[in-house]
Amino acid sequence: MFRHFLQVSRRQISSTVRRQLVNKVPDKQKLFQEANGMPVHLKGGVGDALLYRATMGLTVLGTGFVIYELVKAALPQKKD
C-alpha cells in the first residue's frame, strides 16, 4: 500500500496524472466560497441535494414508523 502511495506521489509533477493526487483544495475553496446563497450542506451540487432528500425521506418515514410501532405496542390487541 505504501509503495503505491510513494509511486503516485512521485509521479505528481509528470504530465500523466495517475489518480487524483493533484491538490484539489483550491478548487474546492472556490466552489464553497461562491456567493450563491446556498447553505453549506447543499453547496456541493446535485449529489448533496440527492443525499439530503434521501436522508430527510428516511427521517420522515422513520418518524411515522416509530409512532405507529409505539402506539401498536402501547395498545394491546384484545383477542376474542
Binding site: F2, K28, Q33, Y52, G62, T63, F65
Partner: protein, 261 residues
Amino acid sequence: MAHQAHAYHMVDPSPWPLTGAIAALLMTSGLAIWFHFHSTTLMTLGLILLLLTMYQWWRDIIREGTFQGHHTPPVQKGLRYGMILFITSEVFFFLGFFWAFYHSSLAPTPELGGCWPPTGITPLDPFEVPLLNTAVLLASGVTVTWAHHSIMEGERKQAIQSLALTILLGFYFTALQAMEYYEAPFTIADGVYGSTFFVATGFHGLHVIIGSTFLAVCLLRQIQYHFTSEHHFGFEAAAWYWHFVDVVWLFLYVSIYWWGS
C-alpha cells in the same frame, strides 16, 4: 454584500441535528421493539440514519473549515475545548465500569467463593496476547506522534506512512482482541467476572474501532492536502482520542487482566 465584523462562526441552518435526533429516537425505540417483538427493522433504520447524519454533518464541518476558512483561531480554540470536554465525559463513562469491577473484585461475595477470580473462572494469562496488545497500542501512540511531527514539519510522505501504520496497528489490536474473545474460556454470562470483563473491554474495543475510523478519515484528508503544517486540528483531535483509548487500555490491562488474575 454583508461581511461579519467578528472572528466567530455563525453556521448556516442545518438539518443534521434533527435527523440525528430522529436517528437516536429510532435506535432506542427500535431496541425496545427488538427486545419485545423480535423485529430489527426500526433499529436498523435508526442506524442507517445515524450513519447518514454523521457523514453529512462532519462533511459540512470539513467544508466550513478547510474550504470556507471559518475555523479562525478563536473558533479553533472552541473546537479544542469541545473535544477535551467530550473526552472527559468518556473518561467518566469508563470510570463507571472500573467502579463496578473494583466493587465486585475487592470484596468478593461468598457466592463467588470469597475469592477473585471467582471459583471456576480461568482468567486469561496477562503475559500472553494481552501483553502483545499493550505493546501494539503503545507502539501506535508512538506512530501517531510521529505522524503529528511529520505534518508539522511539512513531511507529506512520512505523515501518510506513519498515519497508515498507526491505523494498521489499531486493526491488529482489534483482530487480536476478536480472537481472544472467541478463544476465551469464559463468557459474558459467567457471573460478575464475565460481565465486568466483557462490558469494560467491549466498550474499549468499540472505542478502538471509533478511533481507528477517525484516524482513517484523517489519512484520507492528509492525502487530499487538507492539512497544513500550522492548521490540522482534525488530526490533533483524532490523536488526542487515540491517546485516550491507549490510556484506558493501560488501566484495563493493569486492573482487570493483571491484578484481576
